[in-house]
Structures are given as structure tokens and as C-alpha cells.
Assembly symmetry: D2
Homo-oligomer: 322 residues x 4
């Protein structure tokens, strides 16, 4: 029964991918990061993974892409484990801003210049600077190890993408030096940036993304490993941040019309974490993680086709936290 | 069994009210609204109402207070019913801002000056201007009738509070004239302000507040009336807005650490809407509405003791949408 | 000799008016004030008046137009005489902003919300509110009497323009209510606005404007009346404000490339005050006042042809305070 | 006759230095630059130099100090000579801002992020990046050579001050990377910063400062060398900038109450350029340059005693451009 049901659902999901793929034409690949600009804008892929290792996937599922801003959720969780919540919250707030992800204005206009949340670049750079480790390499290894626990395989940094971003990271350098000046950076600027830009360049496919989402959805508990990878409180906090700030300055509309904790990246990645209680009537009644990839993004930075696909899925399957 | 359980829980709730009442000393009654400044800052009350008409309440539950910003949720829902979602969303966005509730900056700094969300004053005034009706009185009657359906009794405007706010509404007038100038007001300024300030002055007790919360929690369906008072989609949207923008510029922290859709007012009111799926392990497994009153507010505008009480309750009862 | 010289210069000035008149096509009449939108955009006129009653004029010199923002200099001087400099400076600063004339942002972003200077609308409304008088009419009479002393004839308010602006003054009302809220308004909002909008609607021709400029250039001393109409210190202060803030957010460029104290209005009026020491080599070696009218304005609010004409004149005649 | 007059004036000037020296107590040495923090806050010195090599000086006139922001005027003039005015003005505007000297907000809030003027740090860094030269050293040599022509002796960079600022230049680095990102930097960030911070660390005494002021006052013409060192138009522009933006965000008040083109530095330096036509009744009727040093600065960055001394001098000697 379950299998049949799943098969028919799988069929539907495959159809939805093709239905929403053409919407990519309303967006374009991030052009300010050379290595991203060359991607095929019409690609679209999705993976949905439940706790009993059940997965549905469709579209360009073997395609590799970089985490970009999706990594911000991962390092935030890691920093909370590493330093403890009070230490982290002293250096980064958890308030949404309504501003673009690379905005610098609030660092000056609000005293004492504490970044507003870990999902905008300023806050994410601060978070990366907090990770323990004596070198950027050690910090990156720590991130990769944490991801390995979640996705079940060793991921790696796409050096070409990293180099591409490193060369053109002037705006992020500006943010980082500002943070350093106001005391909200925990290590030298170039170290923090190296960690930050390398974490952004970690390569995954949609199934990996879905696995990360599943552990977050599951309050930090890994259902296959049967291990609590991070505290429930941190997982709840991460999901709250994904809802209030996860989809750049369209987070409000995403919450209002889709209603799931999600985090996007300018690579076209979207990670969603669907707790069991928010998907009781879906084919994944025990919750799931969702990974989506569609490199054509809108002016705000979210995958055009990816958001449409996720909205359709959430509506059809009645997945909503509200 | 249920009753005994409830009784012991009721006892706990009463204890928590007394435990958190002293925190009021860390806040003070809103002093810029003369009629609110005279309230007893040490008052604290809570009501929790479930769909089977089961209520727990404790503290100063007979005390009457005004809705203030809590009314913003009500009029937003009403405007959506009245005008349809597209009409409303053309005139007010649903993005959080990180700014104070009475901020005017974004109306100038972001083109075309559309207010960012209906939970800040600018957006709420726009919403009030959209309500259909040929006079402020007719619009207020419509709001009161809508509330009557939810709480089961006729509420009324506290004229003294209204007059008090009307006389000192310079900042709100400034916002309203700005909105009028940029085309985001649907009726004359003075009419919109009269509606807005009268809705803020509607008087309730914590049980009334809890009933409103219950209907919102219940996706617009009134469990006693067995009627769908407003569409499910509007209810979900309202809850999303409460999470991203409901607790002024502490909404992010509230979502992060409490995790419930809620809306506060400077009168010290807090309305929370707890969907059933977010309270599966609580004494209210079918969901509930929560009304809290504690007039001593913090610098951001939220009831000091009220927030602490709600946080404790949510933690103890494992109520959380994330 | 002087007469011949003057005649040849007069001839030149007439030629310049025709030379620069076509530049009006690069601008347009202020369209947000209905009564201004109907003006003939190709009109251009200039009057230059020296202390010995010598005047050169050319172009549409009989055309009447309203003072608009040029009135801000006049009421600032009057308020200083009326209330004394310390009183005035406690309520309005004298710093340039780089912002548009009707900007509201700084009233919120800078504590305590004191308007930055009397040449932007916020500051000018505060100044108008400070004028003594028991009614708007009395205050306007005071302004008209002060102007009469300078120009030698009774001026009057163009009621049509006033009514036109009064009906559409939403942005100015927004500014005024904001100022009232933060304590920087000295009389009720509607009174301050009536005075402000009526002073803006006072009608003059270019010769009148030049006479006002002459008295300011002359440090407050009226050369024909042989009377000190206002203190030298106030005149210096007014000229400094005209240089730092007089030409809206093009004041810096105007000072840099023209180098004369000047104030413009959206009616296309420009008033310049040329002290004797800044015009030693010009046909007006004892200084002069300049009035220009060219209703086609640029996006910033300055007369397109008027600025070009004034720049040419200042360059040719070597008039520059720097 | 002249000598006697001068002697009595000299006597007066010496008295004024002692009269205003105690006001230093209302300020303090810039504490964010370690090498400046150690200065004796009670020092005060002035030099006034006229075109016939006549100098009056008083106070701690042998004290050496660094130019800091005063250097911004010098490099702006040099860049205009080097690149031509159109090239320079394409990269930096000439509008005052009302913001603090190190503000970054406008680079984001105003498109396309062109710095508002060359007297704030953002604009000054852009200017330094424009200087021709294949290395920072070559650019600095060019600045030193230009200064040598004006002051008649080879100046040098205080390496200790430079190193001190270089180590702590996070805010300036933030500005520079932002400018690089938006295309308003003409050379690599570290090069531009090295030039900028070295020009800030050039060491002078008050007589040197007065000589620079004299050449600017004199429209670029060096009276002793009898050479036009830079074009008159550039000199006028520099003086206009000093008036609208020279004294940080107190420039408006300085112009209003002192009325002279001046530029200050956080070292406590003030440079004033008094054109002959603005000092007709002073002991320097052919104009003069003024150099002042008083290291105790106010919160805005201007020498407390220095401003008071200059105001007194300007008032007593009737020096004012307005």
C-alpha cells in the first residue's frame, strides 16, 4: 500500500518538476559570481526525504551545486554547539530586517552594530568567525564533518567557486571590516572570510540538502544514526530563523504563502525542514527534509522555479507550520 | 481523568502567574498614552481556551484593557475578507522590518512607499483605511460585529482611551499623511485614524482575547459556533505575520525562544494562537487561544511579565510551531 | 560712461536670457502643485539690482510667480528677529543634509529629531511655527510687511496657488505632525502649515526678488531706505545657509561651480545675494541682488535655464564669494 | 607704521591663544588613533601668513602634528590637476551630507554609491585612489612634492602615526572595499589605503598649515614663488568644499558662525583660507592662510580651543566670506 501510494505521489512530483521548470525563464543565474553564471538556468531538481529513509526525487537530481547561503543555517547550528547559545547571541541577534542580504546600513544605524541575524551576510560572517579552530582549514573541516554526519558522506569545497567568490568578495570584505571595527568579529577578517566563502562553496546534490533538512526538521535527531546531532532548542531556533529570515527579504511572503522553515542560496538551492506536526496529512506524516535546486534566481536571490515548486508541493500536501 | 489533570494544570498556571507577576517591575505602563499610564503595573492575567470550551484562567482575569496593536490582526483578517487578498496585498506587504512599530523611515527609503507589513502602525493604518463602510462608525461597527462573532458578546470602544490617543496621535497622523501622499491610503486621513484609534481602544478581558486566539489557531473555524468565520488561507497568513512581525521588533526573538504566533499591544495585551499540531503534548491537544494581560511593558512595547509567563507556559507544555 | 557701460552690459544680459531660454526644455514645471503645472515652461527672466537703485533686467520681467522655497530665507530672518537667534537655533539646526527637500528620514534617524536646517521643508515649517502672532493671518501679515520694507510695495498671497498647495500638502502635513510629536513645532500643525503654505504662495516678479537679494547681500541694510532692516549677523547666517543648503540637494554643486549665496523655489524662482566683496570686478562693484524666474525645473527642484543663466553671469562678471 | 600695527596685533593674537587654551578641557585627544591619544591636550598654536611673507604666530608653534583630514583638501586639488575635473567629479560628488566623516550608509542608500564629497573618508579614499603613480610610494612622493611647493620645505610622513592608523583602519578598509565593490575605487584597496593613511600622517607645524591655506586663499597662486600652482577654478572649488563640508558634520554651523573656508583634522589641526576680499578690514587685507593646532577635539572631530580661537579672530578682524 505505502509503496503504491508513494509511487503515485512520486509520479506527481516528477510531473510538478516539469510543470514548474519553465518558470526559470523569469529568473537568471547569479551573475556576480562568475562560477555560478555559467550554470544551465533551466535545471530543476527536488528531493524529499523522510525519517524512514524514504526518498522521492525528480528532475536533475545528480547535479552538484554549492550551498551558498544555505550554509548559514549549518554554521549557526554549529556555532551554537561550539560556543553555547549565550555566547553566540551576544554577537548576533535573531531579528529579521527587511533589508537585502548584503546590506551594511544597520551596522551603522543601530547601536552597537550587532548584526541583526545569522541569515544575512553580516551575521553569517560573524557566526563563521566564532567557530572554534586554530585555522580556517580546521574550521572548514569541522563544518564538513558536521555535514558528513547529517548527509552520510564526505562533502567537499568546490575550489573553483571559492576562488571565484574570494576574488570578488569586496562587499563581504566591507561587511567583515565593519564588524571587526565594531567588535563583532571573533577572528581576523581574512580568516573569517575564508571560512565563510568556503562554507558557501561546499558542494551538494538535492538529496544531501534534503538530509540536512530532515535532521533540522527532526529537532536535531538523526533518524538513521539514531543520534541527537544537536540540541532540540538549537533546532527550534534554526527553524524560527528560517521562517523569519531564511528567504532573504522575501521571507515574510514565503512564510505567509508557503509556511515552511526554509533557507535559500543564490546558487538556486532551497533547503526546507518540515516537522512531523506540519505534515500530518502528507505522504511524509513523520516529517521530512526537502532539497531543491533551480539556478535561475529572482532579483531577491531565491530560485524562481524552486519557490513555485515548493509552494505547489506544500499546498498539495497540506504541509504548513501555521 | 481529564478534569483532574486539568485541575492540577490549572493550579500550576495560577502559580506561574504569581511567579512571574513581580517581573512587571522591570517594565512600566505605556506613558505616552495618558489613559494607559494610570494602570496598575503589577496586574497579570491569563486565559487559555480550547475548542471544547475548556478554559483555564488565572490572575486579574476580570480586568478590562484595550486591544491596542492586537487589533491589527483582527482588522487585517477583516480587510482580507472585505476586499480580497490581492487588493490588500497591493497596498500592504507582509515583510518584517526590524524597525520600531511607529517608524516612518521605510516609507521614504523604499519605493514606492508601500508599508512593509500590517503589524506596524503604517501598515495597520493602511489596512484600517481599506475596510469598506461609508463612515468610520460603520467600519468600527463592522469590526465590533466581527469580534462579537469570535468572543460571543458585544465589545465596545473605551471612549476615554480613544480620546486620549486621538489627542496625542501626532506620530500616527504623520504616518497617515505620508501614506496618503504616496497613495497608500484608501480613505481620508482623519477617517482612517478614527477607525485605527477606535479599534485600538476596543475593550476586552483575557478570556475574550483567548477566544480570538482560538479562532485564529483553528484556521478561522469557530468550534462552538461550528462556523468558518474566515478562510483558512487568511488564518495561516495571519499566523505567519504574527510570527514574523507580531511582537514588534522583538518578533525574531519571540519566535526563536517561544515559537508561537502572537501579537502584543502597548496596553500589555498578548494574543497567542496555538494550532493543534503545535500543542499535541499539552493539556490542550486540540490547540488553544491564549490571552494575557500585564500592563508593564518593556522599551519595545511588550508586556514584561506577560512574555515571561507565556514563555514558561510554552516550554512547560511543549507548545511550539517549529 | 557708467550708463554706456551699463547699456552694453544690459545688452549682453538680454542676449544671455535668449541664449539660455531653450535649456528650459530639459526641465518641466512642478507637476505636483496644480497651479504651477500650468505655467509656460519657456519663460525666463532676470533682474539685477545694485545699491544705487541701478537695475538691469531682461526676459519675461513682468511675469508674476510665487516665492515657494525662496520664502524660507525670509521667514528664517524674520524668526531670528522675532525670537532671537538662541531661541531659533534651539529648534532648528543649520547643517546641510544631502537629502531631498521634503525628506522625513532624519527626523527619526537623528535624536532628538531637530530639523537639520531651515531650508528643507521640515526646518522651514518649524521656523514658520515660531513666528509670533496670534493667528496665521497675523503671521502672514508680518511676513508681508517685512517683504514690503524690502521690495518697496505691498505683496500678496496668490490664493489660487495657496489653495492648490493646501489641498495637496499631505507630505508637508506628515512632516509637521512628526515635528509636533517630537516637540519641534511651536504652534498647532494646521496653523504652521497655513503660514508656511501662504508664505510659499506670495507673489513677486524678478525685480522684487532682486530687491530681497540686495538687502541680504548688503548685510540687512536697505540702501534706498538707508535703514538696517535686520542684524548683520543674521544676514551673514542667512547667506551661509543659502550657500550650504539653498539649492536643495544640489547646493554643494551650486557652491562649487557658481559660488554665490542663492535660494531656489519649485516655482522656478532663484534669489541670489552678491556681497560687494564678491563682485568687485563686475558691473555691480557695490554688490547686488539677483532675481531669476524660469519655471521649468530639474528633478531636484532648481530652474534649469535659471541656474545656467546665473552660472554664466557669475562667470562672466567674476562674481564669487570664494 | 605697518610693523607697529602688526606688533600690537601680534600681541593681541598671543593673548587670544592664552585666553582660549583652557577650553581644551572640554575636549580630548582622538583616542581611536593610539599615536594621537598621547598628545598634550592643552597645546594650542596659531599661525597667520599673508602674501607678502608676513606672519603672526603664537602658542606652541614649533609643535609638529599630522595633517589627518586636512590632507583631503590637498589630495583633492592634486587629483583635479592630475586627472582633470570631469574625471574626478565622475567618481566623487561635491554635496554635503550631514553625516559623520566615517559614515558608510549613503554608499548603500544612494545609487550608484558615488561618495558624496571628498571631505568625508569615503570620498577622500576615492580621491587618493585616483592619484596617478605606479605605487603608493610614488603617489605619496607626488603629494609631498606638491606640499613642498606650497610650504617651501620637504615634509615627511610620521611612520609611527601611519603604522598606528594602518593597524586600526578597519572602518576605512570597510569603506574602501565597499567603494571597490561599487566601482568607485581606481586602484587596489590596500594601495588606496596606504596612500590615504600616509597622507593623513604627513607632519607639519602651524606655519606650514598657514602656507597651504595662503595658496588656496590666493586661488592657487603662490605669492612668494610667483607661480600659479593650481588652477583658480580648482581653488574656488576647494574653498566651496571647505565651506560646505570642511568641518565634518559641524560644517554648517562653522559657516554660519565663522564664515571662512576651513578644514579640520582629528589631530586637532585646522586650516583656513581667507581670500583678500573676505579680509579687507583685517591686518591681512590681501588675504591670508591660517594654521591652528589644538589636539583636544570635540565629539565631531574639531579642535575645541582651535574653533573658538578662530571664531574670535574672524569676528575681531571682520574676516568673513559672506
Amino acid at each position: 500500500m505505502v509503496t503504491e501510494h508513494t509511487n503515485s505521489q512520486q509520479h506527481l512530483v516528477s510531473g510538478w518538476v516539469e510543470e514548474f521548470r519553465p518558470f526559470s525563464k523569469n529568473g537568471q543565474c547569479a551573475n556576480y559570481i562568475p562560477a555560478l553564471a555559467e550554470k544551465n538556468p533551466l535545471q530543476l531538481a527536488i528531493s524529499i526525504v523522510g525519517p524512514s529513509n524514504n526518498e522521492m526525487k525528480a528532475g536533475d537530481t545528480t547535479e552538484l551545486f554549492t550551498l551558498q547561503s544555505v550554509s548559514k543555517v549549518v554554521t549557526f547550528i554549529l556555532a551554537c554547539m561550539d560556543r553555547g547559545l549565550p555566547y553566540v547571541l551576544e554577537r548576533v541577534d535573531v531579528e529579521p530586517t527587511g533589508d537585502t542580504f548584503n546590506s551594511i546600513i544597520r551596522l551603522e544605524s543601530h547601536r552597537p552594530g550587532k548584526p541583526f541575524n545569522p541569515m544575512i551576510n553580516a551575521g553569517a560572517i560573524t557566526v563563521s568567525s566564532m567557530l572554534s579552530g586554530i585555522s580556517p582549514q580546521e574550521k572548514i573541516e569541522k563544518i564538513l564533518y558536521f555535514l558528513e554526519q547529517m548527509v552520510g558522506k564526505k562533502l567537499k569545497v568546490n575550489e573553483e567557486v571559492f576562488q571565484s567568490e574570494w576574488q570578488t568578495a569586496n562587499r563581504n570584505r566591507s561587511l567583515a571590516y565593519y564588524l571587526m571595527d565594531s567588535g563583532f568579529l571573533d577572528c581576523p577578517v581574512e580568516e573569517a572570510l575564508e571560512v565563510y566563502l568556503k562554507q558557501c562553496a561546499i558542494e551538494v546534490n538535492v538529496s544531501d540538502l534534503a538530509m540536512i533538512g530532515l535532521v533540522i526538521a527532526n529537532d536535531g535527531y538523526h533518524p538513521q544514526l539514531k543520534t541527537q546531532l544537536f540540541p532540540k532548542q538549537v533546532a527550534k531556533l534554526a527553524k524560527a530563523l528560517m521562517v523569519t529570515c531564511g528567504m532573504y527579504n522575501a521571507s515574510g511572503k514565503f512564510s505567509a504563502f508557503i509556511g515552511l522553515p526554509a533557507k535559500s542560496g543564490v546558487s538556486g538551492a532551497i533547503l526546507a525542514a518540515v516537522p512531523s506536526h506540519a505534515s500530518l496529512n502528507s505522504p511524509f506524516p513523520d516529517g521530512c527534509g526537502i532539497g531543491i535546486y533551480g539556478p535561475a534566481i529572482d532579483s531577491i536571490g531565491n530560485s524562481v522555479a524552486g519557490v513555485k515548486l515548493l509552494k505547489h508541493l506544500a499546498t498539495e500536501w497540506d504541509m504548513n507550520i501555521f
